[in-house]
């Protein structure tokens, strides 16, 4: 790759991390009063807000009602100030629609929708600052928000990106590494069973490297799940202290 060296000889990346190191993940649950569930998550420099409403009656199209399960409605949007150049069209463009579809698909697999027939669960995600790993940060934030809303899920849904440079897999890519033209793989994982809810890969990768890359991404996801678990337990402790239990 001309110009930027994504992995130095000593094994350090652009921001000083080692190849398998994740960025710092900080999260807070219950940030909004109005919503049923909300969460704010920072993964390195990527900052995401997620809000969950539901389960409630299906609004809008009557045709969306499913008689045996809840419908999940996701909307993904980026704030106009989230990227280096001001974003003209925060929603409605193809990339946002595709992301919304992917989020919907991921959560339909994880949430126990059979418990809420004929209802709708809304998940709104907004990116406040984008520095790579948009999809992963959204999934992690949305997981926390869904837990905050009290909607039962099969397992935590953790997502992470992984890349491949010089035969070394890199975990948790930042924006410069993603757009550098190398491979980037995004995986949404349910850690306990090792099941993949969503798999998305761009750019060329030789078939033989697929195994190592997927392995790296899944390990990174398990790391993220530990952090999310910590955050949930902390939040529970805080709220139970406040309510005097």
């Amino acid at each position: 790759m001309a110009g930027i060296e994504l992995l130095s000889d000593q094994g350090y990346r652009l921001d000083g991390r080692k190849a398998t190191e994740l960025r710092k993940v900080q999260a807070q649950m219950g940030v909004f009063g109005q919503a049923d569930g909300s969460a704010y998550l920072e993964q390195g420099n990527t900052k995401v807000l997620a809000v969950v409403y539901g389960p409630h009656e299906v609004r809008g199209a009557r045709s969306k009602i499913q008689h045996d399960r809840a419908v999940i409605n996701c909307q993904y949007s980026m704030a106009t100030f989230s990227t280096a150049e001001r974003k003209r069209r925060p929603h409605g463009d193809r990339k946002s629609s595709e992301m919304s579809l992917h989020l919907k698909q991921t959560f339909e697999a994880a949430v126990l929708t059979q418990l809420y027939p004929r209802s709708q669960i809304d998940i709104y995600v907004k990116i406040l600052q984008s520095d790579g790993g948009n999809y992963s940060a959204c999934v992690n934030a949305a997981t926390l928000a869904v837990i905050d809303a009290g909607i039962p899920m099969r397992d935590y849904v953790c997502a992470c990106t992984a890349g491949f440079v010089d035969d070394t897999p890199l975990a948790d890519l930042c924006h410069a590494e993603e757009s550098g033209g190398g491979t980037s793989l995004a995986v949404a994982l349910l850690p306990r069973g090792g099941q993949i809810a969503l798999l998305q890969m761009d750019a060329r990768l030789h078939q033989d490297h697929l195994d190592t890359l997927m392995e790296a991404a899944m390990t990174a996801c398990k790391g993220v799940s530990k952090v999310l678990d910590e955050v949930v337990r902390q939040h529970l402790q805080e709220t139970s202290v406040l309510t005097g239990e």
């Binding site: 579809l101 992917h102 697999a109 890969m201 750019a203």
Partner: protein, 398 residues
Amino acid sequence: MKDTPLSNCERTFLLKAIEERKRVDGRETYDYRNIKITFGMDYGFCIVDLGKTKVMSQVSCELAVPKETRPSEGILFTNVELSPMASPAFESNRQSDLLVKLNRQLERCLRTSKCFDMESLCVISGEKVWRINVDVHVLNHDGNLMDAVSIAAITSLSQFRRPEVSIQGRDVTVHTAEERDPVPLSIYHMPISVSFAFFQQGSYLLVDPNDREERVMEGLLVIAMNKHREICSIQSSGGIMLLKEQVLRCSKIASVKVSEITELIQKALENDKRARKDRGKFGFAESLPKERITALKTQEAPVEMKDIQETASAIISKAEVPLNTQAVRSPVVHAVGVGQVGEGVTSSWGLEEEEEEEEEEGDKEGEMEERTDKKKWKKGDVVVISDSEEEDVVMLNQ
């Protein structure tokens, strides 16, 4: 307009058949449908048939201002359109989920994998570059649009030729096809996508699902690869849970399929080049007499007819005589057009004597009898069916 919903019994039938490892159209698990590639008169036009799924792709180019972030690279613009003629579920001017998925997948497959040299499309750095538009239209939807779209797009890109350009200082002259031969694009590799449909919680998969199988599938995995065994893109959709081993297995199957399809495309491209060089007839002019355009014409399959006579008589001789049949009397032909089988039953309707005779004759014969009956009756006959004095039932003779 909404698509016809799939009935429950059809759904259970399909799922049961898949459980028993059988596909409704007789294919094996990893079999693709028949792929046919046809080219048109212009460079960069092709129609791909994947079974009954028909997809049309056209590549065109124009001079445009390059992106600010990449001033010396050409622009690739892909667009997939779901024509309403393809399926009753497609409406024009509606951005449906499927359309977004197809567009994004094709964009990722072609653009991010860098399948052709973008820098060679630069004319004047920062001011003028070639913009390549790939327009794909879906003409008939019978499942697995993604694969058909990717094959059509990459085939038409491989066949496309852009006009030759000469630069003198700041003046750019675009030469027409007559002045100078158009230049093909330099394609590095051909990314082709392979779709896998998952059933039974991901334990069973099928390659190239047709429309019916797509409707009952639980999830879809699309892997785009080229023949050098490089994966260009993976996308899972539909909310199924996958395991790492399944994905690795699918990628191995995909590499085999992709090399087969790439061979087919190369052959088609070569045939087309040869046809154009020999100034043979090609393109739409030839499609009518060779009946290539007729979308759903089933090809004639030869049937072995040699020993039919012997086989038939062998079957008859070996067949058992069915029990419980009354001996059927052979028909008696009274006159031309009149036949009688059996004696008939005496009618108990209380008709006059004339009619009794008619009733006897061949009530087993049906049509022919009716016609002759009518001939025998004189015109204007009125038949009284019941003796009751309350009703006057009159049967009119035609």
